[in-house]
């Protein structure tokens, strides 16, 4: 661009050219660059410190700025634009089967303890499943049960009711409706299932929910 070499070994390129040079250097170098290092890379006689003053001014108020890092210089994103370095993606996933079943049990049996959930599902309930449902604000801790060990119970939340369009957990279809909807094919033999395992004594709601036919 500028014929320097032919003219003199000691005449430096014009300042505009020097500014271009440090712009390229600061852009392409993986680490902040000291003035000394810039001078070492630029043609003889250049004054990177002065070129830097010009470049800094040029980037003043722009999307990136020339900033000092220790005793070196770098180009960095303007602080107010940091939000552009994020990309948010929202992924909607179907709740896992374990979570759905746990949720269903809480909804139908609330207030229900973890032990009861496990008893009904026949498998242990992972902490992650419960945590997930709590985090989604679909279940929350209810009052402690007045049984030995005073275990905590889980109940569904208002948020849960809103999501599923229910006014009340009791609006959930009972077994009879589930059966007539074809969701339950077999009539549970009396005396099996969780009634037997249900250590809950006090709560009428529960027994009501489990009434069959």
């Amino acid at each position: 661009m500028v014929e320097i070499k032919e003219e003199s070994l000691f005449e430096a390129p014009p300042m505009a050219e020097q500014e271009r040079m440090i712009e390229a250097i600061l852009f392409a170098t993986a680490d902040p660059v000291t003035i000394k290092e810039m001078a070492g890379r630029m043609p003889h006689g250049c004054d990177p410190a002065e070129a830097l003053v010009h470049l800094r001014k040029r980037f003043d108020g722009r999307g990136v700025n020339v900033i000092k890092v220790g005793d070196a210089w770098a180009i960095r994103t303007a602080p107010d634009l940091g939000f552009l370095m994020q990309k948010e993606t929202v992924e909607v996933r179907k709740l896992s089967r374990a979570a759905i079943e746990t949720l269903a049990i809480v909804a139908y049996h609330q207030p229900v303890t973890r032990a009861e959930i496990e008893e009904i599902r026949g498998v242990s309930v992972s902490r992650g499943t419960v945590d997930q449902l709590i985090e989604m604000e679909w279940i929350r801790f209810g009052r402690r049960k007045m049984t030995p060990g005073r275990p905590v119970t889980f109940v569904v939340t208002q948020e849960f009711l809103d999501h599923f369009g229910l006014e009340n957990a009791r609006d959930l279809p009972g077994l009879k409706e589930l059966r007539s909807a074809g969701l339950l094919e077999n009539r549970p033999p009396p005396g099996t299932g969780f009634e037997a395992g249900d250590t809950d004594e006090g709560d009428e709601d529960q027994t009501e929910l489990f009434e069959d036919d």
Binding site: T29, A30, V92, K94, I120, S124
Partner: protein, 262 residues
């Protein structure tokens, strides 16, 4: 006159052949060799004499044979084809014969040579361009774009009811539980794997997740393998693990899904 030409041609052929034989390995096939030989004609490739070229090639092959240089089969195939082409070009066309004429074949060979030459020149021009990392440069200090992935879970009332119905239906079958002594359910497998998967940072054979005591009895092993596999699919679906299998029947491996960023 004709003899003189013939003589000069022979000489130049021989010289070319001798020069080229030395590094016959350096040629990338017969077409490459033909292209090199065509340079001795010092004409535009569009006006090349394919007949002369065929003669040059054949004498080159002869020389190579005399010098007991082993030539790859495709050089000999090309020689046979060029001998055929030469006869077609020299003999008057036989009207009873089907197929392309000698001129057509020659024209195609000339086209191939010209096209190869053109591609070589294009390649050279391409490589002579300014290249990234050599003549111009990309940003040195890059910033990662943090991929903030928000996962929201959803379920419908139907899911909920079906889930509940599933549990109740399962209860109905409880009397049959006895038969399931050697059945490892998917729920059990899931429960087990959920607990273990947090430690599976590296690719691990899925079979190492079989529960203790289930590895030896074939029936139990079968059931545990199936349910563990099904459970791993479920976990993969949930985005918690990754699964891979290098080929059919090879071990299936899983690992904890690493959080994605940038």
């Amino acid at each position: 006159m004709v003899e003189q030409d013939q003589f000069q041609e022979d000489v130049s052929d021989r010289l070319a052949a001798e020069a080229l034989i030395i590094d016959v390995d350096g040629f990338e096939g017969p077409l490459d060799l033909l292209l090199m030989l065509s340079r001795t004609q010092k004409v535009d490739l569009r006006q090349i004499s394919v007949l002369a070229l065929a003669k040059q090639y054949l004498s080159f092959i002869e020389r190579a044979k005399e010098l007991r240089i082993e030539l790859a089969a495709d050089y000999l195939v090309m020689a046979a084809w060029l001998a055929f082409l030469k006869s077609r070009l020299l003999l008057p066309p036989d009207p009873s014969e089907d197929g392309p004429s000698g001129e057509e074949l020659a024209a195609h060979l000339a086209f191939q040579l010209e096209r190869l030459q053109a591609m070589r020149e294009a390649a050279a021009k391409l490589m002579a361009r300014d290249q990234k990392g050599r003549d111009f440069f990309a940003r040195g200090i890059t910033e990662d774009v943090a991929r903030v992935r928000r996962v929201t879970y959803t379920a419908t009332l139907l899911d909920l009811m079906q889930g509940y119905a599933r549990i109740r239906t399962r209860d109905d079958f409880r009397p049959f539980v006895m038969d399931r002594e050697s059945v490892f359910t998917m729920e059990e497998a899931l429960g087990r794997m959920r607990g273990l998967i947090g430690f599976a940072g590296d690719w691990t054979d899925i079979l190492s997740y079989l529960p203790e005591g289930w590895e030896t009895d074939p029936a139990k092993r079968r059931s545990a393998t199936a349910s563990t596999f099904a459970a791993s699919l479920e976990l993969a679906k949930e985005g918690r693990i990754e699964i891979r299998q290098s080929e059919m029947y090879s071990p299936i491996q899983i690992r904890k899904k690493l959080p994605t960023d940038g």
